[in-house]
Symmetry: C2
Subunit: 717 residues, 2 copies
């Protein structure tokens, strides 16, 4: 599904993006009473009350849509901020020529038939890109639907459901125009307010990252919902996401392609679990992007942020008339990573003052049928609960009034009372519907007249979205609290241009030289040298074949463990040499490495691999069976800071082992993170020359941390 273009792209200034997305004048190219696109786009512009000038370009008709036309762009005479191009594929290049002639710099290109449609279309798109680069054109599309800048009344898109669609702080940036349209439909039915919807299509020039850059500066936008099939400009995307985070505008995103996750085959284990999608997961985590899978999750989570802002914590209070709803809410909350703390003694007392016959008072709080007969009581209770310092958000699901239904009056009365009693100042008090039904027009009108914070998607989707926002808020607070601790790294100078793989011996020496703790090792080239090295290191020792050509030493009998005296060391030397001759006759043999034998502790894998999109990716996993059988590893894109490394360790399934679960000494987590940072810095210092650096295992025994084995491979094979 993903359309990968590697074309270079211009970067546009904030002023230019503002001109593009807030045009004072628009020219419709291909305006015609016979074109459904023209009819719809003109309709959208009118419906959105576009305040600027609209020129209708048509050389063959004097009027279109009841308006006078101009025969060409050049004939308009006044500046045109945006050309909206609705011509067929084969006419796009000539129109670009006209734009250049007329000095029009910005255009939306609707037509398909470019890179998405095979080799010929891709070649055509390359020509578009070339012209755009040459003349500094900013283009949206081709194969897009244009954009709606609702906050600025620019309906530069066919079929905007203006009138039905609410205004609000949520902006959508979607590569797929059709998907963006579906999102507008869902938003309309759920009463979710939008500031913008930008569809970027094939992204020949402008891409999602440009849309994000604009939306960060757009005062109407508070949160950005993204749909992507491919991250076209990884570095620019990282820059945009980083700036969004700094601006306090969260990005919630669907990045399609989880199922394409064809893990690349790599020599090192590290390669085996760095499928593109896992790297995307890691990157999003680092950038503070909330990743979701469905349109419903995307829009409800993003919209909810406009109601909650950055959450103070993950402690939720829940109350409902229905015990069943309380149960479901609690279960979903817990699975979503939220906590349901007990109410304070004061809260419980205040509730009992209101209703003395209350039994045990739990969170979630089941008001029971009492509230059906006394709605004011429920409202008063909600007002008590919102004061409880133990919670960070209060959720009170309720039926929204249904036009003409028997319960319409009951619902309106209940909501009015809640509105009167609840302040919603200290913490957000959210009123989702009980289930995922549409917000009906009558309900919307009624609710808009109150100060209540509704929440879209029904109770379950709301609680799940709260879980995502609470986790995001925590990460956001943590990232704000610490200085940007990512340090500059100095490049490492190497003798010559390394190729292929380095031997263990060479890798160990290199890492040790760059402050990564490595087990002592002596290279022995004879049985006698092995014996004396063993004596000096102290028994028992390990002896391994040393060769840059043998990566899986134990498979060929090239490793001898637990050698307890000099004779054993001698015999082992002879044995591994013979094994090498037998199983790897062509391998270059440097000798054998003698190291002290270590026992106990926990083994980790620490690796860095080169990712073609995002550069260096760091993997940290539990060693041995954990990484092989359970794929228990955490990834991040470099650079990274100390706190993020600790977060990686915290994500491991087997982290209890590091905390001493099996009677081992608990690991010195600070020292461990420090060591991993050193590995990362070595990789960064090597930069693009490095294919992979893998330490497996890194042995951790309390504060004793050292690499027992390491492999370095270079991109120049």
């Amino acid at each position: 599904m993903s359309i990968a273009t590697t074309s270079g792209r211009a970067s546009f200034t904030p002023e230019r993006l503002k001109q593009f997305f807030e045009p004072k004048s628009i020219a419709l190219i291909g305006a015609s009473d016979k074109s459904i696109w023209s009819i719809m786009v003109n309709g959208s512009l009118r419906a959105c009350d576009f305040p600027g000038a609209i020129s209708y370009v048509n050389p063959r008709s004097e009027t279109v849509h009841g308006q006078p036309t101009v025969p060409s762009l050049a004939a308009i005479g006044t500046p045109v901020d945006l050309a909206f191009v609705m011509v067929n594929t084969n006419l796009v290049l000539p129109i670009l020529g006209e734009m250049v002639t007329a000095g029009v710099k910005n255009a939306v290109i609707l037509a398909g038939g470019f890179a998405e449609a095979g080799a010929e279309g891709a070649a055509l798109q390359q020509q578009v890109v070339r012209i755009a680069n040459e003349h500094n054109l900013a283009l949206l599309g081709p194969n897009c639907l244009g954009y709606l800048n609702y906050g600025h009344n620019v309906g530069a898109m066919p079929g905007v459901p203006a009138g039905k669609l609410r205004r609000g702080g949520l902006a959508i940036a979607s590569q797929s125009g059709a998907t963006g349209s579906l999102m507008m439909t869902y938003a309309t039915r759920q009463g979710i307010g939008l500031s913008a919807m930008i569809s970027s299509g094939n992204e020949a020039v402008l891409a999602v990252n440009d849309a994000i850059e604009y939306l960060i500066d757009d005062a109407n936008t508070r949160v950005i919902a993204v749909f992507m099939e491919t991250i076209r400009h990884p570095q620019a995307f990282v820059r945009a996401a980083t700036r969004a985070r700094a601006a306090g505008k969260p990005i919630v995103a669907i990045k399609a392609g989880r199922s394409e996750a064809s893990a690349r085959v790599a020599q090192a284990h590290t390669g085996a679990f760095t499928g593109d999608d896992k790297v995307t997961d890691a990157l999003f985590k680092q950038l503070g992007i909330i990743r979701v899978d469905t349109i419903e999750e995307l829009l409800t989570t993003a919209d909810l942020f406009t109601k909650t802002g950055i959450m103070a914590g993950k402690r939720i209070g829940f109350m409902a008339i229905s015990g069943g709803l309380c149960d479901m809410g609690a279960d979903i909350a817990e699975v979503s990573g939220l906590e349901l703390p007990a109410w304070s003694t004061e809260t419980q007392q205040r509730l009992r003052d209101l209703l003395p016959e209350l039994g045990e008072i739990h969170n979630p709080f089941d008001t029971t049928g009492a509230a059906v007969n006394r709605p004011e009581l429920l409202a008063q209770m909600a007002a008590v609960l919102e004061d409880d310092a133990n919670i960070d958000v209060l959720v009170v699901p309720n039926s929204y009034p249904e036009d003409g239904a028997p319960a319409e009056g009951f619902s309106k009365n209940m909501l009015t009372l809640i509105d009167q009693h609840v302040k919603g100042e200290r913490i957000p008090v959210l009123i989702p519907e009980n289930s995922a039904i549409d917000m009906q027009p009558g309900a919307q009108t009624f609710l808009d007249a109150t100060g209540l914070k509704t929440a879209p998607g029904g109770m379950a989707e709301t609680v799940r979205a709260l879980g995502r926002l609470a986790a995001w808020s925590q990460a956001q607070r943590a990232s704000g609290a610490r200085q940007d601790a990512v340090q500059a790294v100095t490049a490492i100078t190497l003798d010559g241009d390394p190729r292929g793989a380095w031997s263990e011996h060479q890798a160990h020496a290199f890492l040790a030289q760059h402050d990564v703790p490595v087990i002592p090792a002596t290279l022995a080239t004879s049985a006698d040298e092995a014996a004396s090295a063993a004596r000096e290191l102290g028994f028992p020792v390990v002896l391994k074949i040393a060769s840059p050509d043998i990566l899986h030493k134990s498979d060929i009998g090239g490793v001898k463990l637990n050698l307890r005296d000099e004779q054993a060391a001698r015999d082992a030397f002879t044995a591994v040499m013979q094994a090498a001759r037998e199983h790897a006759p062509d391998a270059r043999i440097e000798g054998a490495l003698v190291s002290p034998m270590r026992a106990g502790g926990v083994e980790l894998l620490v690796g860095v691999v080169h990712d073609p999109n995002f550069g260096q990716v760091l993997a940290v996993g539990m060693g041995g069976i954990y990484v092989e059988v359970l794929k228990d590893a955490s990834l991040r894109v470099l650079p990274i800071d100390h706190a993020e490394v600790q977060a990686m360790l915290d994500e491991l399934q087997g982290k209890a082992l590091l905390q001493g679960a099996r009677g081992t000494t608990p690991a010195d987590m600070g020292a461990l993170a420090d060591t991993i940072m050193r590995v990362a810095r070595v990789a960064q210092g090597l930069g693009d020359r490095l294919e992979s650096l893998e330490i497996n295992p890194l042995r951790v025994d309390g504060s004793q941390i050292e690499a027992l084995d390491a492999v370095l491979t270079w991109r120049n094979a």
Copy 2:
């Protein structure tokens, strides 16, 4: 939240349940023009066109709801199949008395204030139960909303949205009446058709299992959606669920209380991961109950079954106009356990015949914009795809026509064409909405006139539901294909009445006697005996203290490994005796067990614990760190058959280890399942006397399988 009552309960015949839920005559007790309940229940009965007689019982008014009244139940004169009791709490007992006098056997009791409302209410409920048992009364409630038997036109429930609510094959059984009402609202908005909604409230007499029993026999019901806070009668529930499965009527269920999962503290490891909720998970899996968490998941999954039936497989075909939707559908499908196989060569050729310019043809199939201009093409393509033998279901999301929207005509045209071209005979062809929006009345009318299979909840919820149904279908086929292989187990006779815990020695001997393979072990009571036992067994050996009072032998230095000669065995005997004297001076010491030292292989934990609700629960997990750190274990309620044991092994995260992932000999899975079955049979033979039986580890090395250690504890402490 859960209201646990342990009251005995009568079991009702199918005929009695039919009389209860398909009454020919109903008496409204507490009928009054002033009672909102009375107004609403009468309204529901009328709206549903109840075909039987309705008597209005009111001693103080001649007419109610415009109908003549009778002063008492006894005054009706003709048989009354069901009393609908709407009186206040304090009048319920007198009404039961009247029922007994008048010979009325069945009643719905609406009033709350019973077991859900504290000790006094619980006592009152006990009286209700006593009277019911004494006089063979079938009661629904108290604290319920009654029931709607839509298929038989019985609206014995306040507030039935008749007219809006569709008829269909989905029945709801909900302990919570309020939750059941919310479900009816969601069903109404989604166009989900119901056969019944039964709310069982406090379940003083009739419970969810009775509702299920009735619904299995109800010809209108094809699938049963359950909401439960507690499984009140575990054995009866298991019987009902088993019968539902045999009848081919799936149960989809929310069982609230995941977050209450307070794992019971137990001496054995097994106890640590048999929290009630995990046992519920296991039981549901065994019974073929599909467990979900939200109202939306419950109703969409259940409704979808009425469209798919038992699925032939998990291979999904997906096509859409929007590439974005295709991507999302594929991602959700994969996460939901579905497969997206490639299209056959023939299919690809047929698609190219329709549209020669098609590039690569994937599944999901993105029709691209071509279909917007040529809707018939899309319909023809769908007809090609449904013929592909590689898929078991085809999903074609589409916009449902929105009343008055610009795209209404386009949508109707597209759907009409699909209806004309697609047969939907070989496999189900499902047409969900693109997102989770309401089914609008106009769309419903239009779609009802077609033969299209719509699917509720939007595309994402549909695909997730398909994942659940595919897994359920697979289990259903497997369970149908094999004979019911659960064998009868003969009780094991024991000398005396065992108490507390048995020593390892005693446990090993007992297991060996019952055909569970156990490592050879010799009890030595002196250093000399230890030495000679070791010699006979062959070196190296292991020596362990033998005492029924020391369960964690290694913690006190009571285990010596890898003893290589007689002197080492002697020294080890002396050492463990001294360790026992020092650390466990009061323990009864039988001597020391000498066993051969085993190396290699994979270690499992196999345990059976007594669960107060469901009886014996079998746990199988990977040993060592897996069970301790990762809680990697699978549970089932006994009895169980061989195939189910293999399914348990298949669920383990670390199962790759059994398949030889670490260079070990792949385990003989048949022999392993056989051994686990033997352990289960021993536990069943011991029955209620057994508190727990735990083998940890069970060593597996190819087909060599034996218990290395075992603990037996008895319920008589």
